[in-house]
């Protein structure tokens, strides 16, 4: 099993969620996050004064998938989150040691 963690543009959350749903991803966790990469920050203006804001709003999507589905999940996210412009975000893939469903105590891929 792997955990796929994707940091994407906030306005791409809906299309990514829909597309993952279509390839039968059962669940996900979504968090509003802030950060910067090569895009750096943006400038905001209040009462004529400019401020450099380093941390941009992004959304982090976390999905756990069995090995045979990892490639499909990653490709789906790339396909639906890409604009081709700077600031599209990144995807990280981690190994997952164990999954346990709290309600039933099931473990492993059954619990995903």
């Amino acid at each position: 099993m792997k955990k796929i963690e994707a940091i994407i543009q906030p306005f791409k959350v809906e299309p990514v969620k829909e597309a993952l749903h279509k390839i039968s991803v059962q669940g996900m966790t979504v968090t509003e996050v802030k950060g910067f990469g090569r895009q750096k920050g943006i400038r905001e203006v209040y009462r004529g004064m400019e401020y450099q804001v380093d941390f941009l709003p992004k959304v982090k999507i976390e999905v756990v998938a069995p090995e045979d589905k990892v490639k499909a999940v990653v490709e789906t996210i790339i396909k639906n989150a890409r604009t081709g412009r700077i600031g599209d975000g990144k995807i990280f893939v981690f190994p997952v040691e164990e999954v346990i469903r709290i309600r039933t105590g099931e473990t492993g891929e059954d619990a995903v």
Partner: protein
Amino acid sequence: MNPADTAFVLVSAALVMLMTPGLALFYGGMVRSKNVLATIMQNFILLGVVGVQWALFGYSLAFGPDVGHLIGSLDWVGLNGVGLEPFKAYSETIPHQTFMIYQAMFAIITPALITGAWAERMKFSAFLVFMVLWATLVYDPVAHWVWGDGGWLKNLGALDFAGGTVVHINAGIAALAAALVMGRRHGFGTEAFIPHNLPMTILGAGLLWFGWFGFNAGSALAAGALASSAFTATHLATCAAVLSWVGAEWFHRGKPTTLGAASGAVAGLVAVTPAAGYVGPMSAILIGLGAGIVCYLAVLAKVKLGYDDSLDVVGVHCIGGIWGALATGLFATKAVNAAGGDGLFFGNPGQLGIQALAVLATLIFSFVVSWVLLKLIDATMGLRVTTEDEVAGLDLAEHQEAGYSL
């Protein structure tokens, strides 16, 4: 005595009361989230502090029997003699007590305006001491000069319908003294002090605009033609100032902002305050257009001059107030208010001089007394919280609370 006038002024008093919590939200949205409650509290608590001060001796000092054209006597301490019959010098048609409670709301919001200057760094205890002293030694005398029976600026014929000098220039210049004595916030120039909740600021601006109808139209002290004219002038000037501020920043920075719209509204309301009962509708629009641009430039100038007036009290209230007081000397006409005067554009250039004198007297007196009071408090109990508390935020450090717990 007239029941319609009494009802109108009582409702106006309630409207002006709502401006103080409105101001609290206007300011509260502009600070960082760690200081939202402290900022709101510095306004809300003044309803209590100045409300009681006013009844005990403030009203007597401001409106009591004249002493040397400078201040009221202590004859009306504890509202002694402030009864339910009209006091002819102020109004023949409403109870004296109605006039007193209406004026109480002005006495409360004026010091509240200053709190924007020292937002995010002043100690609550020092704030309370300064506010009581300022209300007593600055607001009450200046209110007497302009509005009190026998006050020297009133006798001179200075036109200030609803408080351009007494309220806005007075508070605005005290804000400059405060920003200078207090010094800049920790991190000024290196950290971004970004407003944490602009929807709250817009709501506050809306409440201020709403309450301001009581402030300006209510100052007619009668439900009649003059109140209607002041109401109209107030609204039109404010509409125009929203457009000119937003237009100026759109031209200058490329984007129209909501904070600009809210700031423009307040700038327009400030500028039309002295003029409301003396000018026609088209003059009001010109006053508003001027206010949006003048105040926008004044706010920009702050950055160049380097003082940290956190929420732009000087740029909006002092500069907007000066523009409004002088504009009254330009646009006033007896066609609107026979009891008022004519301005420069209506054949009486002398009025502009009288307006300038009233502005100058208020600027000097308020700045000097505020400066001295702040220095005294700084030397004895200290004005600012520690740097540690400033970084942690005043909500936790001064009030043991958090504005948001999510």
